[in-house]
């Protein structure tokens, strides 16, 4: 679900095909019948934007038919935990959870806590929505706080207590019946029940099942909760931490996982350490206190943090100056890319560096991004080809329409050609958390340079310029360790030396660290990313290991290196039962060897090697020592998987079906239509269509094709790929074509409240209309690869879409929004904005 794996991850899909050939049932639940659907044993069509209703229905089915994996649920999840008595559910408050503050538009999460304490989120305190909560006093302070032996204060192992998580879950999803699912999603009751049965069968000691998802789940105003719903299902069925189980994120860029682990993201530092926040953390102590979980592996937060500061600032970071904490930059609630674009539009962002991304095509409401770029003082674009984000000042649709005039645009633009992957050394982290090193094959030509080269030399030049500065603001840049060796005529920095810093060393001796358990909080170790610690263990580039598959077992532990500690399957202690025995011979993976007194198996056990299954933490235990021997989820403060999330989410402890920002329908469950916590940006460049608008009656959804990649910079420029999908097109059903006069092979103009684009018309039964809430609804499919440049050009689908974001991760809702469609090409020149404006007026 939420993924079109055969089209977008074809080589990964070979494993799915193999499973099918061995008799597995493979379901594709999707608005469109895609190349993936064609390969699956079953396809269930649903309306874009209705997945939580569907998955919530599965949760209800499992609970209603007593199909959960009882032993797993009782020991490994927080099902027995009792929640605060003041907690109220969306069932009680018609679509809101308790704690909603209508003025701030945020939740106070204090009533979502475990009764008698406050639990810590997995990745420490979040930067946003952090309010002092009533449990705080007992939950902080570096002691075991509210957690006695890492155990929640109140539990009911019989799962009968009305306020235990299990019962709350039952109540929350009780109305997600097959009939409601069918009515909301547009599928049939029979198909849905068949699906539920199949999924329930993929559970238990002998069997597992997996979900594969991609941005079809994340790109919604309630995207995180889509994935949360799947985690609830997989916990109930006992499908996490076991071979053949899991919720597999199919990421779409070569190192999008790596760029999150070692983040080029505003809100985190390497290894998911939160960035300091302007309001939340005044000083070092409060930052440490808020982020150090008393129990679980986040209990070692200080070691991770101090080792990072030593990697960044070397001898300048000391315990006396709190590792330079007071000089560190702070963030606000949202400094994400969309927020930045809006700031750009308002003129507060002056300079922008873009490296290998193309917001002028790839970000939703691309038009807004192009208008924003035109407001910059200076812009640097680094790419292998001249992308639309570099050329907007002379060939964007806004130049054509007259909304922008080249001579009026004051932006100074630098285009720097980049080196390709074959022209540099470095590692990508793939979607399985596997770091794979790739070696340089040829020298980059002309001015082409790696981004390693660009940022290293940029930093070097800036450091030179500021070397004699007395300004306080230059403290960090002067203290920055920036002494990587270079090689070759162009002075390319040595990528392995950077990876060595990421992996970590002892400060005094330079000895390479074995892994994150070697990190110290006294400044004696340095490590650029604690979860990557050990990737250069023993001075060997572990990520460059290429032992062929035919020389290893199926886990292939000696091909490259997975974080953390080369573990291929996270939380794999759950592959054994509470006593440490494999759930079954067939599903054997990691188990307790009683004779040797250690965990062993096919993979690196994701558990302390010598912690026996019967271990009960002593009263004063901290960090991982406070996690019991039968609790596999060691990054959680209570060692369990969370069916109910007391802390860490902005929009609710349980997933709830909400309609998209733009939708033709009311919420079938609550009078609260959409996620109340979603981020909206109502402004002239980003207008929203009113819910149920008759001017924009159809549900549009965007996607990729096998033959292209994202915003097209790496494929519209390649002849052999361009010829395979040489034009922007839209997919519509024969019924919609008839209704609107569209001709197969002709042109269509598709319009939203933002703008209008044109596309060739592909009439196909693969995107059928649906019956939802007793009405017929049409969906329109839009691949989003095209822009004004390349061997094949076309209008950008993202021009149509708005900016409304998920509140947890600030991801836009590009998978479901409202449009209209008419035959023929779109108006050109100034007629285009007039056309769009007239429609907007008509919509009111």
């Amino acid at each position: 679900m939420g993924s079109n794996m055969a089209e977008n991850h074809p080589v990964g899909f070979q494993w799915v095909m193999e499973a099918r050939e061995r008799g597995a049932r493979i379901f594709h639940v999707d608005p469109r019948f895609t190349r993936t659907s064609a390969m699956c044993t079953d396809w269930i069509r649903i309306r874009a934007g209705s997945d939580i209703a569907f998955l919530g229905g599965v949760v209800n089915y499992i609970l209603g038919h007593e199909r959960w994996f009882d032993e797993y649920v009782k020991h490994y999840t927080n099902a027995p935990v009792i929640i605060d008595e003041e907690f109220q559910d969306t069932e009680d408050l018609d679509g809101f959870f308790s704690g909603w503050d209508p003025e701030k538009g945020k939740y106070d999460v204090s009533t979502w806590q475990y009764a008698g304490m406050e639990a810590h989120g997995a990745a420490g305190q979040r930067e946003e929505g952090f309010e002092p909560t009533k449990g705080e006093g007992s939950g902080h302070g570096g002691h075991s706080g509210g957690l006695e032996h890492g155990e929640p204060p109140e539990e009911d192992p019989t799962l009968q207590h009305p306020r235990c998580v299990f019962q709350l879950l039952k109540k929350h999803f009780a109305r997600y019946t097959p009939e409601l699912v069918a009515e909301t999603c547009g599928c049939s009751v029979e198909q849905f029940v068949d699906y539920c049965e199949a999924i329930c069968e993929a559970s238990g000691r002998e069997r597992t099942g997996a979900f594969c998802y991609a941005v079809g789940w994340t790109q919604h105003t309630v995207g995180v909760q889509y994935i949360r719903t799947a985690t609830i299902i997989q916990q109930l069925l006992g499908n996490i931490g076991r071979p053949g189980g899991g919720i597999l994120a199919l990421r779409g860029h070569a190192s999008i996982q790596g760029s999150t682990d070692i983040p080029t993201l505003y809100n985190i530092l390497p290894g998911y350490l939160p960035m300091p926040h302007t309001e939340t953390y005044g000083d070092f102590e409060s930052y440490m206190e808020a982020n150090t979980s008393p129990t679980g592996f986040w209990g070692n937060f200080k070691s991770y943090w101090v080792s990072l500061m030593k990697a960044y600032f070397g001898e300048h970071a000391t315990p006396r100056n709190d590792w330079l904490f007071k000089h560190l930059p702070r963030i606000d609630d949202d400094n994400s890319a969309y927020w930045t674009a809006l700031q750009m539009l308002d003129g507060t962002v002056k300079g922008y560096i873009i490296a290998g991304e193309n917001p002028a095509v790839g970000n939703t409401n691309s038009r807004l991004h192009r208008l924003a770029l035109a407001k910059l003082d200076w812009l640097v674009v680094r790419d292998v080809v001249e992308i639309e984000s570099a050329s907007f000042w002379y060939d964007s649709p806004e130049i054509e329409s007259g909304e922008l005039v080249t001579g009026d645009i004051a932006t100074e633009v630098f285009f720097l050609p980049a080196a390709a992957h074959t022209e540099k050394d470095g590692s990508f982290t793939n979607t399985q958390r596997l770091l794979q090193f790739h070696w340089q094959a040829t020298e980059p030509k002309g001015d082409c340079r790696s981004d390693l080269w660009f940022y290293f030399h940029l930093g070097r030049l800036i450091k030179q310029k500021l070397a004699d500065s007395e300004e306080e603001r230059d403290t960090l840049i002067k203290a920055l360790r920036w002494d990587y060796p270079t090689h070759s005529a162009i002075q390319e920095p040595d990528a392995e030396s950077v990876l060595q810093e990421v992996s970590g060393r002892e400060v005094e001796t330079g000895v390479f660290l074995d892994g994150y358990t070697s990190l110290k909080d006294d400044g004696s170790t340095l490590c650029g990313c604690w979860i990557y610690s050990g990737c250069f263990k023993d001075g060997i580039n572990q990520t460059a290991r290429k032992k062929p598959l035919w020389e290893q077992d199926y886990v292939a532990a000696e091909w490259a290196w997975a974080w953390p500690d080369n573990r291929r399957l996270l939380y794999n202690r759950a592959s054994a039962d509470p006593d440490g025995k494999p759930w079954s011979e067939r599903k054997k993976y990691v188990w307790w060897d009683a004779e040797k007194g250690e965990w062993t198996g096919l993979d690196t056990p994701d558990f302390e090697k010598d912690k026996e299954p019967g271990y009960v933490p002593p009263d004063d235990a901290e960090a991982q020592d406070a996690i019991a021997g039968d609790h596999p989820f060691i990054m959680q403060a209570d060692g369990r998987a969370w069916l109910f999330v007391p802390h860490g989410l902005e929009d609710g402890p349980l997933p709830t079906h909400y309609e998209p920002q733009e939708s033709p329908f009311e919420n079938s469950l609550y009078s609260q239509r959409a996620n109340p916590r979603r981020q909206q940006f109502e402004r002239p460049e980003n207008p929203y269509a009113a819910p149920g608008s008759e001017v924009y009656p159809y549900v549009a959804t965007t996607y990729r094709l096998t033959e292209h990649h994202t915003a097209g910079g790496m494929t519209r420029t390649v002849p052999y790929l361009s010829e395979l999908q040489p034009a922007m097109f839209c997919e519509v059903s024969p019924e919609l074509a008839k209704e609107t006069g569209l001709e197969h092979g002709g042109w269509a103009t598709i319009y939203s409240a933002r703008t209008a684009i044109e596309a060739r018309v592909l009439v196909t039964d693969r995107i059928p209309p649906l019956e939802v809430q007793g009405r017929r609804v049409h969906q329109i499919g839009l691949p989003y690869h095209w822009g004004t440049r390349g061997l094949t050009t076309g209008d950008a689908a993202n021009d149509l879409d708005h900016i409304a974001l998920d509140p947890n991760v600030h991801i836009q809702e590009s998978k479901a929004f409202s449009v209209g469609i008419v035959p023929g090409r779109r108006p050109r020149g100034p007629a285009l904005p007039r056309f769009v404006e007239e429609l907007r007026k008509r919509a009111g």
Binding site: F313, R330, G356, E412, V413, T422, Q432, M714, L791
Partner: protein, 189 residues
Amino acid sequence: MSIGDALDRWPVFRQLREGDPLGLGRAARSERSRVLKPRNDEADHVVQSVCPYCAVGCGQLVYVKGGEVTHIEGDPASPISRGRLCPKGQASKSYVQSPLREYKVKYRRPHATAWEELELDEAMEMIAQRVVDTRAANWQAETEKGDPANRTLAIGNLGGATLDNEENYLIKKLCFALGIVQVENQARI
């Protein structure tokens, strides 16, 4: 040329000698066909690489001759991909050798209507100066409420999901030290 050679070049003779009277098999084979070799076998070296497109992380073998990539195909040793590639991965050589690839720095002055050329070193110097100046002019030591900020909100950096870990590491490290907090990548889209 000996008489034997001359005879050998005479198709009819070869057809008869090689038991291929219709001349459809070996007798028809040209010298080029006889000695034909796959160009992979003539590569100076082969580099184990990773596909630059999606995050499956398929193994690639990059064949190089005379400093140029001559072919890219799947690495059979990879337990992820088992030597297979999708159309994008398989087009990787055409991607690195795209006819639209740029090899020179391009510079557009404010209000200009066309690109102009610029030396790479000069561009680097100019960019470094822009960062220094913009940052100094837009430094925010504290927020309006008086909380420490130590940052500039006037500069942003975008991109990273197509780059290497080592590159992402340097970007974040440098921006952090400069107080540039608006560092973002494709994980948000």
